[in-house]
């Protein structure tokens, strides 16, 4: 077994059978993390005590206890997830030293299945960004080419997994933050249906869009992690009561008879990087040969999805981020004499110094959208159009099982290329935001390598709660291309 390429189930099985100890596995990844992090800046904090947890798992196995589906597997966790006793920064100065006294529900579920936390991963500040350049802790580099961005906001997760510094990672996706970096770094990323996975304990960016999901090396690993983290949570009223399917057991490459939708709006000439366009064509050929039927569809509202997204997400964010005020925890601007300052000054200094530029930009946008006099024209209108978009997708999925598309218009771009042009950066989310707005499951699976040597993924979307369909299709593509689990040169 090669830890650089092994699947989670294989490693967990070997740990349980005492062919390798969890300690050895954790130590292997811990050393890789320490060795390569200076190049990549993928981790904000590496958890050296992961080996202590590994020893406990090994002891429990020695005692013959049931240690769960992810026994002794070290995982990197995006810094949006609250982890008891471990700093959780959300990539922001304002939470630089925040140590949560509780675990997010998904962390709790992973731990119950024996998973261990290897470290907390870098990200765009409060998940606001598409390049990981807005992090207070500095940008993350793409392991395929250190001059390129890893994508965002879960850039640390994508980079760490791509360079195989971890067995698996967890990301969050509000407008593409799992799928786009997975595409940029050549890994598998899955955003589940809204309500499938609990949001409790995940730092909130836009509550009606946020979902947590796996960012891993293989489709099978994605199915396993999804199975573990899914399901109703009494602490999150937006989670569904639906039973969680056995995604791993039902994983099958047989997709014969699947109807695959292609959206007219996504395939406008001249918009796509030629290699991305070619990948979509090649993927269609493979799927056709596997017995899939293709249908051209139209979801007109996707044309305005980016606008809706930036209205809804920023509105919710402006309210979600109000709690970071320096009163209870987190960063507080230094004041010599508390009695001499007024409250507004206290807030303005603390938040002014604690938040980065992009976060402040979005808070202001959202505050504006929700203000009386603008509410109807912006927030309310965006909600109406969003409902229309959902209806259109609902219609589309009466005609097809899966919608296939690019993840982004191009492979990864260079560091610094778009950071000074927010609008260009926002347009990067053009293919991914609709999934969140309509609450659909979406996935990015590695497909090819561009002429510049950068990975290209394919995006698959399905109707709500049809994760199995996109997993199966991705599984099929993965077996056809053998592009998963490739570790870039130098790692």
């Amino acid at each position: 077994m090669d830890l650089l390429t092994a699947k989670i189930s294989e490693v967990a099985k070997n740990i349980k059978q005492k062919k390798i100890s969890s300690f050895e596995v954790c130590d292997f990844f811990l050393q890789r993390a320490h060795k390569h992090n200076p190049q990549l800046n993928a981790f904000i904090n590496i958890n050296d005590s992961v080996t202590e947890g590994a020893r406990k798992v090994d002891q429990r196995i020695a005692l013959g206890e049931d240690v769960g589906l992810m026994a002794g597997i070290p995982m990197g966790i995006k810094d949006m997830f609250c982890t008891q006793g471990l700093k959780t920064t959300a990539g922001s100065k304002i939470l630089e030293n925040f140590v949560p006294p509780y675990d997010a529900t998904v962390i709790d579920r992973l731990k119950k299945q024996g998973a261990l936390i290897l470290g907390k991963l870098n990200q765009d500040e409060f998940a606001m960004g598409s390049s990981n350049e807005t992090s207070f802790f500095g940008p993350v580099k793409n392991p395929w080419n250190l001059e390129y961005v890893p994508g965002g906001s879960s850039g640390g997760s994508a980079a760490a997994q791509s360079a195989r510094l971890s067995m698996a990672t967890l990301g969050t996706d509000t407008g593409g933050s799992i799928r786009q970096p997975a595409h940029f770094c050549g890994i598998v990323g899955l955003k589940p249906t809204y309500g499938r996975v609990s949001r409790f304990g995940i730092v909130a960016y836009a509550s009606s869009l946020d979902q947590a999901g796996p960012m891993v090396s293989y489709v099978e690993d994605a199915a396993l992690v999804l199975e573990v983290i899914s399901g109703f949570d009494p602490k999150d009223s937006t989670t569904t009561q639906r039973k969680v399917p056995s995604f791993t057991k039902d994983l099958s490459e047989n997709i014969k008879g699947y109807k695959v939708g292609i959206l007219k709006e996504y395939l406008k000439k001249g918009v796509l990087h030629p290699d991305v366009e070619k990948s979509v064509d090649d993927a269609m050929s493979i799927l056709k040969s596997q017995g899939c039927e293709f249908i051209e569809l139209s979801v007109p509202m996707t044309e305005v999805a980016v606008s809706i997204y930036y209205l809804v997400a920023t509105s919710e964010a402006s309210s979600n981020l109000a709690r970071y005020d320096g009163v209870k925890y987190g960063y507080r601007a230094p004041f010599k004499q508390l009695s001499s300052i007024d409250l507004d000054e206290f807030y303005m200094s603390t938040r002014g110094e604690g938040f980065g530029k992009e976060v402040k930009r979005r808070i202001m946008l959202g505050t504006y959208c929700l203000s009386s006099g603008y509410y109807d024209a912006y927030y309310n209108k965006a909600c109406q159009v969003r409902r229309k978009l959902s209806e259109e997708f609902q219609q589309a999925f009466t005609k097809c099982d899966v919608i296939l598309s690019p993840v982004a218009t191009s492979p990864a771009f260079k560091l610094g290329d778009k950071i000074s042009n927010p609008l260009a950066m926002y347009l990067n989310d053009i293919f991914t935001v609709s999934t969140n707005l309509a609450g659909l499951p979406g996935m990015s699976v590695p497909f090819s390598i561009s002429k510049e040597g950068l990975p290209i993924g394919i995006q698959l979307q399905a109707a709500p709660f049809n994760e199995q369909k996109i997993l199966n299709m991705a599984f099929n593509l993965e077996n056809a291309t053998k592009m998963s689990g490739k570790v870039p040169y130098g790692f």
Partner: protein, 478 residues
């Protein structure tokens, strides 16, 4: 009421703390006497990623309160975020209800100065409380125990016209909530809080004047005083040609005046929007019916029933139903003694007086319903006189003994033996010939003198009725 040709327009916002065991959106306790910040959790102090979950009990209590306030219950109501910054508001927003409240379009009635008043309830919505700030020297300490405690905000229409009416309205709302057992109605502890909106306009004017909000008034008496002061202040200003500014004022009970707290000129921008962390509250007709069937009889209904069933005067009925425990006490006594009129009289005079003097609540009365019923029975059966009964009652109150026991111990049994009374009266008349002559000469006032002597001779035990009858006969010389 005369207001110098002006008409005051008053509306009340009552914040009632619901009597749930846990908070509105998490399982923290709501116990009042907890240590500072003891009743907190990641949810109630707004930690990152913490999410609210609606307390079902709070919704049920709110629906019951809404029904009792005559409101329509929305089948779908929505929690919204009210965004503003303040240190005691841990999330930077309060979860409340905005354009789709749980209860709306209600009304309540009460009697004031022999007139039935009907006041509309615009809405009653659920929300969470904030924490409390405490300023110590140059520091401000915050206690989040109250953060997230469930409140029902009951908003009246602008229907109230006098300070007295406003206070009576507030008392009635409190009474209803206490009857339902959904709020303990304690103004000092803050489980009931009242904001008053006051404006004045020339009688007949079509538009309302600019309203001023008076906040944090912690007694019904102060509601009345604060509004009275405010009405006068506003009329004075208008009379002097000054403009009333929209503002929030506080009532200072020591100075008996309202003082400006903050101007509302630059209107607060709360940026309300539906809370994406919570699903809409869906209430079915069946659920509303079920909760309705569990409602206890309300004060107004009970007073009306007392008037009808027990032939009580309206005044008595209203006083006896002012508190649920008192109404229960009366009803039990009336049924046990089979003499509702007597039960009402005893409670309204002796019992309420003793309770007031000893500062006891009806639930702490040493005289139980059974004891009072027994006492009334003894009067009705002529075992003791009404006058003696008062002494017996006061002994009961002091000792907790039964009336029968007290009567026996003091040998307070009424003398109803006519022969014995005749004998006593004959002796008295024989010993006081001049007064007998006076009476027969037309000075009938001395009748009382003879009664007094007869009662004295029998140590007060002679039946007053028999003494009167026999004395009348004897004096008339028959």
């Amino acid at each position: 009421m005369d207001f110098r040709g002006y008409e005051p327009v008053i509306g009340l916002e009552i914040h009632a703390q619901l009597k749930t065991q846990s908070k509105m959106f998490c399982s923290d306790s709501t116990k009042f006497d907890a240590l500072d910040n003891e009743n907190t959790s990641p949810v109630s102090v707004g930690m990152p990623g913490a999410l609210p979950v609606i307390n079902k009990k709070a919704v049920e209590m709110s629906i019951q309160a809404g029904l009792a306030l005559g409101c329509q219950i929305r089948h779908k109501s929505v929690f919204a975020r009210k965004n503003y910054f303040y240190p005691d508001l841990p999330k930077g927003y309060q979860i409340s209800q905005y354009d789709q409240p749980l209860c709306e379009h209600g009304k309540i009635q009460f009697v004031l100065d022999n007139e039935v008043k009907t006041i509309s309830i615009t809405r009653a919505h659920m929300e969470e409380d904030a924490g409390q700030s405490q300023h110590i020297g140059e520091y401000t300490l915050i206690n989040y125990n109250r953060s997230g405690v469930p409140l029902l905000e009951i908003v009246s229409g602008p229907d109230l016209r006098t300070a007295k009416e406003a206070a009576e309205y507030a008392r009635t709302v409190r009474q209803i909530l206490r009857y339902l057992d959904v709020c303990d109605g304690n103004l000092e502890e803050g489980s009931l809080r009242c904001d008053c909106n006051v404006s004045v306009r020339k009688i007949g004017a079509p538009e309302f004047g600019t309203k001023v909000e008076i906040k944090n008034i912690n007694s019904f008496r102060f509601i009345e005083k604060a509004i009275e002061f405010e009405i006068d202040r506003q009329i004075d200003m208008v009379e002097q040609g000054q403009k009333i500014s929209q503002e929030t004022r506080l009532f200072d009970p020591d100075k008996n005046q309202t003082i400006s707290m903050r101007s509302k000129e630059n209107a607060q921008e709360y940026r309300y929007f539906p809370d994406p962390d919570l699903l809409p509250v869906i209430v079915t007709d069946e659920e509303i019916q079920r909760l309705k069937s569990l409602l206890p009889e309300l004060p107004v209904q009970r007073a009306q029933r007392f008037i009808k069933e027990f032939q009580l005067p309206e005044y008595d009925a209203l006083i006896l139903t002012a508190e649920k425990e008192l109404a229960d006490y009366f009803e039990k006594t009336a049924l046990q003694s089979k003499n509702a009129k007597a039960a009402s009289n005893w409670i309204m005079t002796e019992l309420l007086r003793e309770l007031k003097q000893t500062e006891k609540h009806i639930s702490q009365s040493p005289v139980s319903e059974a004891t009072l019923s027994e006492l009334i029975g003894m009067i009705d059966q002529n075992i003791i006189s009404g006058k003696m009964a008062k002494s017996v009652f006061s002994e009961c109150w002091k000792t907790g003994k039964s009336p029968a026991q007290i009567v026996k111990e003091h040998n307070w049994v009424q003398i109803t033996d006519t022969n014995a009374i005749e004998k006593v009266i004959e002796d008295i008349l024989a010993q006081n010939p001049s007064q007998v002559a006076d009476f027969r000469g037309g000075r009938t006032k001395v009748f009382g003198f003879f009664v007094g002597l007869a009662m004295k001779a029998t140590k007060g035990q002679a039946s007053p009725d028999l003494v009167n009858q026999i004395l009348t006969i004897k004096l008339s010389g028959q």
